[in-house]
């Protein structure tokens, strides 16, 4: 039975996960799962079911305002969605072929390596907000992936070019595999693919990741819905909180300087990477 206290706790947890998820373009499962399992003593099985719904709620809540403010890149999203959905389906099909412990460690190392790249980017001289004068990528031009957005923090229209499309596509396959196999990293890997590999600015990367992760999560959500691992008394108050949090977060994000977003992102990535590697060794945090 649900108590008024639990209900409030889940609404607030959802609200915070939604804000953070919308700002960073991540699913928020890694924030919600520890609270549900450690603080509320819920079985990990039900926590995973709730996380899937939280990802969809973050995505849908954030996408509303990102679309209105033209922050996200719809072509990049749809093109890369081919890779994430194929990855997610293959991941689900491959379930059990490779031991999960090894997968957790491999994906964890990949996340840690990406946070190292992010730190280098933060300390480096290349500024996020300014337009980089790079030569166009022919594949990106053929697919018309280049875009622009209005940065409310610097009050400037930022035009950007997308690079290394095959590399980004490959990373999105990995992102799909990770979420299909382990149900994790739904957004983090997508931001990494766009920001680190395809050299998109951080804000449209985060906004586009928000749009995409809902589609990827929906692909695997029906299994959890029909096998009873999505518990309504938990998933619903969380989702309501998340939707409002994500709507708020997507507004906050647009006023933050890209550097600030990156400073929040790096410890979250380090935490995610560590969480995954520890899980590989059988430690849940």
């Amino acid at each position: 039975m649900i108590t008024a206290n639990n209900l409030l706790l889940m609404l607030i947890t959802g609200l915070l996960a939604g804000i953070l998820g919308a700002v960073l373009g991540i699913g928020g499962g890694m924030i919600v799962t520890p609270i549900l399992t450690v603080a509320m003593g819920l079985d990990i099985k039900y926590a995973i079911g709730a996380s899937i719904i939280v990802v969809i709620a973050t995505s849908s809540g954030a996408t509303i305002s990102f679309l209105k403010d033209e922050m996200l890149n719809l072509r990049v999203a749809m093109f890369l969605e081919i890779a994430t959905t194929i990855g997610a389906v293959s991941g689900a099909a491959l379930n059990g072929v490779i031991p999960k412990a090894i997968l957790y460690i491999l994906f964890g190392l990949l996340v840690l390596n990406s946070s190292y790249t992010m730190i280098k980017k933060l300390l480096g001289k290349t500024k996020d907000a300014t337009t980089q004068a790079v030569q166009g990528d022919t594949l990106a031009q053929k697919l018309r992936l280049d875009g622009s957005y209005y940065d409310k923090a610097t009050k400037k229209e930022v035009n950007y070019q997308v690079q290394n499309v095959p590399g980004g596509f490959l990373m999105m396959l990995v992102a799909g595999l990770a979420s299909g196999l382990l149900g994790i990293g739904s957004g983090a890997f997508k931001v990494i693919a766009m920001d680190n590999i395809m050299k998109m600015p951080l804000k449209p990367s985060s906004a586009t990741s928000n749009l995409m992760m809902g589609v990827t999560a929906a692909a695997s959500a029906t299994v959890y819905f029909f096998n009873g691992t999505i518990v309504p008394h938990i998933a619903v108050p969380l989702s309501v909180g998340v939707v409002f949090g994500a709507m708020l977060g997507s507004r906050i994000m647009q006023h933050l300087r890209p550097k600030v977003i990156r400073i929040i992102f790096i410890p979250i990535l380090l935490y995610l990477g560590l969480q995954m590697i520890l899980k590989g060794f059988g430690v849940n945090i």
Partner: protein, 121 residues
């Protein structure tokens, strides 16, 4: 296609998506209010409806948990709605490459969701 047309597409998708999200959140809030008022979900402890049939019957009996599950299901459908509307919007803007790309995404997505239904039920 220029940027202005792309922005129009995004506005159309944004509007329809907003309606979808509002509906699913409204159903969930109604369900939560019913749960608070009645004090229980209308099912025995740790039980809740997970099949279309059980949810439908629960809705007719005005059981809170059935309303909550309907809200969750509607929320799961919102990303599908986003893809469907994108296909229409790209098609309307004569962007056939992206009409195909997005249709392909929809096919994989629906395939995965239907497979999930058969595996999960």
């Amino acid at each position: 296609m220029n940027k202005q047309e792309m922005n129009e597409i995004e506005l159309i998708i944004g509007k329809i998506l907003r309606i979808g999200v509002i509906i699913s959140v409204a159903v969930m809030i109604i369900g939560l209010l019913m749960l608070m008022i009645e004090g229980n979900g209308g099912y025995s402890a740790n039980q809740f409806p997970t099949s279309f049939k059980a949810i439908g019957q629960g809705l007719l009996a005005l059981k809170p948990d059935a309303v909550l599950m309907l809200g969750v299901f509607l929320l799961i459908l919102t990303p599908v709605l986003r893809v469907v509307v994108s296909i229409y919007a790209f098609f309307k803007e004569h962007d056939y490459l992206y009409t195909y790309i997005t249709t392909f995404v929809l096919i994989i997505l629906l395939g995965a969701m239907i497979a999930g239904y058969w595996i999960g039920r």
